[in-house]
C-alpha cells in the first residue's frame, strides 16, 4: 500500500497554526495538524473550584520547566534574564494568555525607514489590515472604535468593563494629558458564535471556564474541524524530512502511544512559536543542511525578541474591587509607543493596566515581599493592599540582535529524547533605557491616579517571556532572512512558517493578534499562489 500523503501538514495547533488551518481548509485540500498537547477541558479549569488560586499557581505554572505536564518540553533558559513561558495544548499559549489584543502600529513595520534601526518588514500594516479585521471577527474581539493611537477599526464586541480601577487610572492619565483607551481584548463581552458572555471570573490566565476568552481551541479549531481539517493530538514532531531538490517530504513524529511514525506531505507548515520552530529546524540538520533545515542564511534561531517587561504596582486608599474582571484586560496607554527624538532610546512601549490580585495572591506577594507582616499588623496590612491595588505592565519593543538566539542544548532533552532548546539572551542598552523610562512613567501615572504607595518592580520581570519572536525572520533577501515575504522558506520551497518566528521586529504590544493576522496573510498568499506555490 502506498504511503499516505497529505496535502498540507501543519505542526502546532496554537494561535497561528489554528488560524492557518482554518484559512487553508477553504481550498478543500487535505489538511492535517499535529499537536504535541491534547484538548483542554474547561470544566476542569481552576476557576471552577474553591481552591482556584492555588491550582492556578501549581498546575497552570507559566514556565514549562516548572509545570512539567506530559505535553511540555524543557527549555534551558538559565542564561537569559527572561524565562521562556508557553503552554502546550490545542490552542497553545492562548490557553493561558490574558487576551490583551492590541494591534501593531503602522510604524512597527518600518523601523529602519523611520528610526534607522533594525529592518523594515517586507509587508506593512495596510497588507495586514484585512487579516486583522478577519481575525477580529473570527475570534470575537471586544473594544471601542476611535482609538487615536491606532488606525481606525471597529471591534465586533463592546469593550471589557473599566470597573472602578479603570476609571481611576483613566482619570490619572487625563490629569497628565496622556493617551489611554479601553484595550482591544479577545474576550466575548456578549454571546458570540455560540460562546458564552464574559462573566468577569478574573483568572483568564488560567483558562476560561466560561469559554468567553478567545483561546484558539474554541475559536478557530471548531471552525477548522467543521471544514474538514484533521487534528491529531499528543503527537510530537521530531524532525522534518527532506527529499530530492531540497523539498520537504513530511515529518517524523511520536504518536499518542509513543510510536514513531512518518507522515508524508506535499507542504509542511510550522506553527510552533519563536522557540519551538527554530528548535525543530535545528533538530533537522542533515548533510544537505548541516546547520539546520532552511538555515542557509544562518539566521534560524537568531534575533530572538522577548518584549522585556516592566511592572509598577499602585496601592490606593479606597476600595477599587480591583481583582474582579478579566485579569489582563482593562485599559492601555500608548503615550510612549512611538519614537521621540528627545528620549535616550528609540521605539517605545505599551502600558497595560491589569487587575489586582485575589486574596491568596495578594497575601503571598505581601508576605514574600515584606509588605504584609507576620503576626501583629497582618490583617491591617492585608486590608490596606487587597482590592486597592492596580498593576501596570510595561511592554517594551525588543529590537533584533543576532546574539539573542535559540540553539539546541547539548544534554537536555524532552521526554522523547529530542534535544531541547537553549536560550542565550542579553538585554540591550536600548531596552534597559526604555524599561527605566517606563518604570518612571508608570510610577508617575500611578501617582497621578491617586496611589498612596507606588512600587516599581526590578525589571525586566523574569517570568514574562511569553512573546517569542523573530527567530526565522521574513524578508526578500535569502542572505538576510529565513522565509520570503509570504512565509515560504528560501531554501525549502514547500516549507512555510506562520508563527511569530517570522517577525522582523517585535512591536511594543502583546503580539497574538498580529501573529494571527500574519498567519492568515501567509495562508491567503499560499492560496493565491497555489498554481505556482513552489516556483
Amino acid at each position: 500500500m502506498a504511503e499516505d500523503v497529505v496535502d498540507v501538514l501543519i505542526v502546532g495547533a496554537g494561535a497561528s497554526g489554528a488560524a492557518a488551518a482554518w484559512s487553508l481548509a477553504e481550498t478543500r485540500m487535505r489538511v492535517v495538524c499535529l499537536e504535541q498537547g491534547g484538548w483542554m477541558d474547561p470544566a476542569r479549569y481552576p476557576s471552577t473550584g474553591r481552591d482556584w488560586e492555588m491550582r492556578q499557581a501549581r498546575e497552570f505554572q507559566t514556565s514549562p520547566n516548572l509545570r512539567r505536564r506530559a505535553a511540555d518540553y524543557p527549555v534551558k533558559d538559565a542564561d537569559s534574564p527572561i524565562a521562556i513561558l508557553n503552554f502546550n495544548a490545542v490552542g497553545g499559549s492562548t490557553i493561558l494568555y490574558s487576551a490583551h489584543f492590541p494591534r501593531f502600529h503602522p510604524s512597527d513595520f518600518r523601523v529602519r525607514s523611520l528610526d534607522a534601526v533594525a529592518d523594515d518588514w517586507p509587508i506593512d500594516y495596510a497588507v495586514l489590515e484585512p487579516f486583522f479585521a478577519a481575525n477580529d471577527r473570527n475570534v470575537g474581539v471586544a473594544g471601542l472604535a476611535g482609538d487615536p493611537a491606532i488606525p481606525a477599526h471597529q471591534p465586533p464586541l463592546p469593550p471589557v468593563p473599566l470597573g472602578r480601577m479603570g476609571e481611576t487610572m483613566g482619570r490619572g492619565f487625563n490629569k497628565l494629558g496622556w493617551h489611554w483607551w479601553p484595550s482591544d481584548s479577545a474576550i466575548a463581552t456578549r454571546s458570540y458564535n455560540g460562546r458564552g458572555q464574559c462573566l468577569n471570573l478574573g483568572p483568564c490566565n488560567a483558562g476560561c471556564a466560561q469559554g468567553a476568552k478567545s483561546s484558539a481551541d474554541i475559536t478557530y479549531w471548531p471552525m477548522a474541524q467543521r471544514a474538514g481539517v484533521e487534528l491529531r493530538t499528543h503527537c510530537r514532531v521530531r524532525e522534518i524530512t527532506v527529499g530530492e531538490r531540497d523539498m520537504a517530504t513530511g515529518v517524523v513524529y511520536f504518536d499518542a502511544d509513543g510510536v514513531e511514525r512518518h507522515q508524508r506531505a506535499e507542504v509542511v507548515v510550522l506553527a510552533c512559536n519563536g522557540v519551538g520552530t527554530p528548535r525543530l529546524l535545528l533538530n533537522a540538520a542533515s548533510a544537505r543542511f548541516p546547520d539546520g533545515l532552511a538555515n542557509r542564511s544562518g539566521l534560524v534561531g537568531r534575533n530572538l525578541m522577548l518584549h522585556p517587561w516592566g511592572h509598577v504596582a499602585g496601592v490606593f486608599d479606597e476600595p477599587l474591587e480591583s481583582h474582579f474582571g478579566p485579569q489582563g484586560c482593562c485599559i492601555l496607554s500608548q503615550e510612549f509607543y512611538e519614537t521621540e527624538p528627545q528620549r535616550d532610546f528609540v521605539r517605545g512601549y505599551n502600558m497595560q493596566i491589569t487587575r489586582g490580585g485575589a486574596p491568596v495572591a495578594t497575601a503571598r506577594a505581601g508576605i514574600a515581599g515584606g509588605a504584609i507582616p507576620w503576626g501583629a499588623g497582618h490583617h491591617e496590612a492585608f486590608e490596606r493592599i487587597y482590592d486597592r491595588t492596580i498593576h501596570l505592565g510595561i511592554c517594551c519593543e525588543d529590537l533584533p540582535e543576532e546574539r539573542n538566539r535559540v540553539t539546541l542544548d547539548a544534554e537536555l532533552t524532552d521526554s522523547h529524547g529530542i534535544p531541547a532548546p537553549k536560550i542565550d539572551y542579553v538585554l540591550s542598552e536600548n531596552s534597559r533605557r526604555m524599561l527605566d523610562h517606563g518604570l518612571e512613567k508608570g510610577a508617575e501615572a500611578m501617582r497621578a491616579a491617586g496611589a498612596r504607595e507606588v512600587h516599581p518592580t526590578p525589571s525586566p520581570i523574569r517570568m514574562a517571556g511569553w512573546h517569542l519572536l523573530g527567530t526565522a525572520r521574513m524578508g526578500t533577501d535569502p542572505e538576510r532572512s529565513v522565509v520570503n515575504e509570504w512565509g515560504r522558506s528560501h531554501d525549502v520551497r514547500n516549507l512555510f512558517i506562520v508563527d511569530g518566528s517570522v517577525f522582523v521586529t517585535s512591536g511594543g504590544v502583546n503580539p497574538t493578534t498580529t501573529i494571527q493576522a500574519v498567519a492568515l496573510y501567509i495562508a491567503d498568499s499560499m492560496k493565491k499562489n497555489l498554481a505556482n506555490l513552489f516556483d
Binding site: 502600529h105 471601542l144 487615536p148 488606525p151 489611554w180 462573566l199 471570573l201 486574596p359 508576605i367
Partner: protein
C-alpha cells in the same frame, strides 16, 4: 522518646510537632482583633500542606523541632507552652539569622487561610468559586475619554 514524639499512621507530624505548629501558625496569622477573622491555627493548614505540597512536610517537621530545641535551650521548655512574647522573640531571633526559616510555611499558611470560608466572608466575599456565577464589574464612564479624543491622531503614518 515519648508518645508525643511518634508519627502516627494518620498524621505526618508528631503530637509535639503539631502543638508547635499550632502556635507557629498563630504567630504568622493571629485572629483579628475584632474577632471576625480566625487565627491560622483554626484553619486546616496541615491538611492543606498534606494535600497540596506533601513533599515539604519533612522540612517542616525539622523546623518545628528546631523551635522546640531552641526553646529548651533558652527556657527549658518546649516552644508551645512559652509566653507569647518569648515565642515571638525566639522566632524573630532565628529569622534574623535565617530569613527563610518557616518561610515556606508562611506562604502555605496564607494560601490556605485566604481560601477559608470564614476569612473570605470577613473580607466581604461570597465563599464560592468564580465560575459559574462570576462577578459584576461596572462598565465605567467612557466620557472620560473625551480629552484623549480631543488630541487627535497619535500614531505615525508609515
Amino acid at each position: 522518646m515519648g508518645r508525643e514524639d511518634l508519627i502516627g499512621t494518620d498524621h505526618p507530624l508528631t503530637e509535639r510537632q503539631r502543638r508547635t505548629l499550632a502556635v507557629a501558625l498563630d504567630l504568622i496569622v493571629p485572629a483579628s482583633e475584632d474577632g471576625r477573622k480566625p487565627s491560622a491555627a483554626e484553619v486546616d493548614v496541615l491538611g492543606y500542606i498534606r494535600s497540596a505540597e506533601p513533599e515539604t512536610l519533612s522540612a517542616l517537621g525539622e523546623q518545628l523541632d528546631r523551635l522546640d530545641a531552641e526553646a529548651k535551650a533558652r527556657h527549658g521548655s518546649d516552644f508551645a507552652p512559652l509566653a507569647a512574647a518569648s515565642r515571638q522573640t525566639l522566632v524573630d531571633d532565628i529569622r534574623a539569622r535565617e530569613p527563610r526559616f518557616l518561610g515556606t510555611l508562611a506562604l502555605q499558611t496564607v494560601a490556605c487561610y485566604y481560601q477559608d470560608d470564614r476569612v473570605l466572608q470577613a473580607l466581604g466575599m461570597e465563599a464560592r468559586p468564580p465560575f459559574p456565577k462570576g462577578f459584576d464589574v461596572p462598565a465605567g464612564d467612557l466620557s472620560l475619554l473625551d480629552p484623549v479624543l480631543q488630541r487627535g491622531k497619535l500614531y505615525r503614518e508609515a
